[in-house]
């Protein structure tokens, strides 16, 4: 059953997203809102990882043999300047979108297997992920004009 693979995938992706939020938080510590909110949102991802743990245990978390086939890469480094911030936020957006649609996939499968426990996890975590996306969207909109038109770097 590939559901176990996807539980494992999301478990890893949530961990990756948490790490990437922390990476951006610390790489852009001069942007106080980015710094503190990315840490808050990273903690939100930690909670998802925790909530997925019993599910993963139940399904016997299976990691894909060729991880690169399904795995979502995290941020390895942060960029600097206005445009750098914009790009890093976009990378977070991409990663959070991946997590978001993976919740959808898991939700569909959870309904198919009538797994109420997993469905509960998916529903509450997906709300959080969408909240993260909403903030990223808002912050990217705010940063975009100044970064692309007026910023020196």
């Amino acid at each position: 059953m590939h559901l176990a693979t996807y539980v494992g995938l999301q478990h890893t992706a949530s961990r990756t997203l948490a790490g990437s939020f922390r990476q951006v938080a610390d790489g852009h510590a001069d942007e106080p809102d980015v710094h503190s909110l990315c840490h808050t949102l990273a903690r939100m991802c930690d909670a998802h990882v925790e909530r997925l743990a019993p599910v993963a245990e139940r399904y016997g978390e299976q990691h894909e043999e060729e991880p690169e086939r399904l795995h979502a890469d995290g941020l390895s480094d942060t960029r600097s300047g206005g445009v750098g911030l914009l790009r890093d936020l976009q990378d977070l957006y991409t990663l959070a979108s991946f997590v978001d649609i993976t919740w959808t996939v898991l939700g569909q499968a959870a309904q198919g297997t009538r797994d109420h426990g997993l469905l509960d996890v998916v529903e509450s975590c997906k709300t959080d992920t969408q909240r993260q996306l909403k903030w990223l969207d808002t912050r990217i909109k705010q940063a975009a004009p100044q970064a692309l038109i007026a910023s020196a770097r």
């Binding site: 809102d33 909403k134 975009a144």
Partner: protein, 852 residues
């Protein structure tokens, strides 16, 4: 005669619930003149706090010599506070700026003429506009102390002339959360309540609001109820033992002193208790609100015990406060900086709105909410678009609203910067720091003392990439860093209107000529617009007025049909009687005492000022998401879990710093520091510690301590006060312009500004900076040479008064008080007020409903 330094609130005129507040006329004249000597009295209103007290200025031989409260004004019924009495004109004829200043070849500020100064600004402005950055290179950082006409004119110049989104005021520091909380809950800025709710209420909740010091006349209004028969119970939420907290004890209320940074946990517990005990107006909730289920589940975990642990207050006190809220027939709530300048500011302020919505306590006598402002004209900055918002509470995310403005101003809608959220003050400073803003125009504010993290602000102001214009009445700390300094006319020297906390609009007429070549802020911006040759789509001048009254008439058109409707007002109508609360229009020709008496809120998607935000992150809802909620006149019960503050106390920095205002000064003392009575009453900074903390640190009254945070340090003598353990309080007024041994701009060897310590961090929704949650450590550096200079009359009173002389003003502080000098003025009442009652589920049409 009363010494109103020693006796801040003056003589009591107690009265019973549901009876009018008696008049007491307060007046204070320069000791060299008597009332008979006064040539004329000129109508105005006080600008030394946000209360907006109507007053008359005494003029003698072309100078201001005194001030008298207006008995006919519904705001103050004749009274004035110490700042108004002793600080409103006394700065007149001191060290004013009288000529423009520019930098010479050696980098020194030298006097010049207006043409030279304005040409330098225009040259720089044009140069920057010609770069790729265009208008995004321009930032404006204004004030909560200019006049409506000035904000609106600047708003048009910035938004339709230049087209920059980088406009904000120091209102971001004082009042942004009031606006944000009302937008989130009710769909639009606009104060629901009225000061007259004090006369009718059974309980007053003051959240982070030391009203006794910050709005002294409003506190007199409460004291006159407290001292009368059937007094209201007071509930105070404040880490210090303020006079408000003392009144809470005296009236059988509660004083809650949560650890700074935990307000949201406390509020969630209060909301939970009210829901848990069923102290609800279920019909009102069903008919007029959205979000009850989510609110109930969010606050579910916040039992009094759980919140008590986070906030470190007794659980029974939380229960008792909730019971007072839940069981009093009428409740009035006021909110200020203890909430606004804290962590989760908007969430906690929305929680106050929630409590009222849950019980349907809105829009009728005694059941008000006063989301306070810190400054006298902050409301107008919010209304007129000189801060991030669009004029007349329009929604920058609503294309129809932008089109309305484009038509009104006859410009291309794309000129109006609505393609990204308005840039808030701290982000403007960040863009300056990064070099993408190259011109920063500062008017009527002193960020080199008032912004958080001063070492950083001074660095930014000194950057070569930044050209700074400072427009002020005095050579402030900030002005000393400027490239061009423009001498501004101040209150009494110019004409204009402004609006207070409870929407009351006052006209302030010109009493005297400005000194030297000083000009009003309005005239300066009109001159800039002319020199820049801003044009509309037909090639006509963009700004079509040339005086205050013309600007006011243009503003009226901008407000037509909006909640903030000024169309029924005129300068003439504002002369002679009382200030008038908006909306004033054909339906309400005498103004409107309370909003939402029909429980129809400004939430319809076509009229709302915002589509709302997630309170935890500030993430914005889209128009589609908002429409799907179908708010259509219902208010939002917005919920948020508590999260810990970004900087809490720890091992290295074990105390929480709270900064604040004190009764004798306003802001950075540019005016009050030039009044002898006020200066003597609170001559220098102090560091307030609890008795327990002082004992643990082995410091005594008057010992000098150094307070350090991760950003900087300041020092001052200790007042052993009556605050809670773990909290250090430092007043934010004191800078360097009058400190010997400094260059008047930066700290020398003895830094004393509270903002040397504070952090650059803000609420995600209102973007208001957190001045009340920095972690600090305290070290003794010298023995006392006497008690600290902290006043003894209010919240900074010593825990042990032995050896501390009481604060007094002496004979030169004599104030004439005339209680019961006239019949009290009648508040603005509308015929329909007697009809529809909230809770009945009826819908009457109003300016807040849908357009069609």
């Amino acid at each position: 005669m009363t010494d109103r330094i020693a006796d801040i609130w003056g003589t009591r005129t107690p009265h019973e619930k549901d009876t009018p507040w008696p008049v007491r006329v307060d007046s204070h004249l320069d000791s060299s003149v008597t009332e008979q000597d006064v040539d004329r009295w000129v109508q105005s209103a006080c600008v030394l706090c946000s209360n907006g007290c109507g007053c008359d200025i005494a003029v003698k031989d072309g100078r201001m010599v005194g001030v008298r409260g207006r008995a006919t004004d519904t705001v103050n019924h004749g009274r004035l506070g110490p700042k108004g009495l002793y600080g409103s004109w006394q700065w007149n004829r001191t060290d004013r700026l009288t000529r423009p200043l520019v930098r010479d070849a050696g980098g020194n500020l030298v006097e010049t003429d207006w043409d030279t100064a304005m040409d330098r600004i225009v040259e720089r402005s044009r140069q920057l506009l010609a770069t790729d950055a265009g208008a995004l290179s321009h930032g404006f950082y204004t004030s909560g102390q200019l006049f409506l006409e000035e904000y609106y004119t600047l708003g048009v110049i910035g938004k339709a002339g230049l087209g920059t989104p980088h406009m904000d005021g120091n209102t971001r520091l004082c009042t942004a959360t009031a606006a944000a909380a009302m937008k989130e809950s009710f769909g639009s800025d606009g104060q629901p309540g009225s000061y007259s709710d004090i006369e009718a209420t059974d309980a007053v909740f003051l959240y982070g609001h030391n009203m006794a010091e910050t709005q002294t006349v409003l506190w007199m209004r409460i004291l006159d109820r407290v001292h009368g028969p059937t007094p209201p119970r007071i509930v105070a939420v404040d880490p210090r033992t303020t006079p408000v907290a003392e009144a809470a004890r005296a009236t059988g209320g509660v004083h809650l002193a949560p650890l700074p940074g935990t307000n949201q946990a406390l509020m969630n517990a209060l909301v939970r208790e009210v829901i848990h005990h069923g102290w609800l107006d279920e019909e009102y909730i069903a008919a007029h609100t959205l979000g009850f289920d989510e609110l109930r589940s969010t606050v579910g975990p916040y039992t009094p015990e759980h919140a008590a642990e986070i906030c470190r207050v007794p659980a029974d006190d939380i229960r008792r406060a909730a019971e007072i809220f839940g069981t009093s027939e009428r409740v009035l709530s006021t909110v200020l900086q203890g909430f606004y300048q804290s962590h989760q500011a908007t969430a906690a302020s929305c929680a106050v709105n929630n409590l009222h919505l849950l019980r349907g306590l809105l829009g009728r006598p005694g059941c008000g909410i006063l989301q306070m402002n810190g400054q006298p004209t902050a409301q107008n900055n919010r209304e007129c678009g000189a801060d991030g918002d669009l004029p007349a509470f329009r929604n920058w995310d609503n294309p129809d609203h932008v089109r309305e403005l484009a038509e009104l101003w006859n410009v291309d809608p794309l000129t109006i910067p609505h393609w990204s959220p308005p840039t808030h003050a701290l982000q403007i400073w960040r863009y300056c720091e990064q070099g993408s803003i190259g011109l920063l125009w500062i008017a009527g504010t002193n960020p080199a003392v008032s912004m958080p993290d001063l070492p950083r602000i001074r660095r930014i102001l000194q950057q070569d990439s930044l050209f700074t214009v400072v427009q002020d009445g005095f050579l402030t700390e900030t002005a000393r860093y400027a490239d061009v300094v423009l001498p501004a006319a101040l209150w009494g020297e110019k004409q204009g209107t402004f609006t207070n906390v409870d929407r009351t609009v006052h006209l302030s007429d010109q009493a005297i000529e400005p000194p030297g070549e000083a000009r009003s802020d309005l005239d300066i911006w009109l001159d800039y617009a002319r020199r820049m040759d801003f044009r509309d789509r037909d090639g006509a001048p963009l700004v079509k007025w040339s005086d205050p009254e013309g600007a006011f008439e243009a503003w009226k058109e901008c407000t037509r049909g909006r909640l903030v409707d000024y169309t029924g007002l005129s300068y003439d109508k504002l002369r002679g009687g009382t200030g008038i609360p908006w909306p004033v229009n054909e339906e309400a020709p005498e103004g409107t005492e309370r909003l939402y008496s029909d429980a129809q809120f400004a939430t319809h998607p076509d009229v709302c000022e915002t589509y709302g935000h997630d309170l935890l992150t500030g993430g914005a809802l889209s128009e589609q998401e908002y429409r799907a909620l179908r708010p259509d006149g219902r208010a939002f019960l917005k919920a948020a879990a508590y999260v810990p503050p970004p900087e809490g106390p720890g091992e290295e920095y074990p105390f929480v710093l709270s900064t604040g205002r004190t009764v004798y000064h306003f802001h950075t003392r540019t005016k009050t520091g030039r009044s002898r009575s006020l200066r003597r009453a609170a001559p220098g900074v102090w560091v307030e510690l609890s008795a327990g903390d002082a004992a643990r640190l082995a410091v005594g009254e008057g010992d000098v301590v150094r307070v350090e945070s991760r950003r900087g340090a300041m020092q001052g003598p200790v007042r052993i006060g009556r605050g809670r353990d773990g909290v250090v309080f430092v007043p934010f007024h004191y800078g360097y312009w009058d400190q010997p041994g400094t260059d008047g701009a930066a700290p020398g060897d003895a830094p004393r500004a509270a903002n040397e310590l504070t952090l650059t961090e803000w609420d995600p929704v209102s973007k208001q900076p957190m001045f009340k949650t920095a972690a600090v450590k305290v070290t003794k550096i010298a023995d006392a040479t006497g008690p600290s200079p902290a006043p003894t009359t209010a919240a900074s009173a010593p825990a042990d008064p032995t050896g501390v002389p009481p604060t007094v003003g002496g004979p030169e502080a004599d104030v004439r008080e005339q209680p019961y000098a006239a019949e009290p003025p009648q508040p603005a009442r509308q015929p329909e007020d007697s009809g529809e009652q909230p809770g009945s589920g009826g819908a009457t049409t109003s300016a807040t409903g849908p357009k069609d």
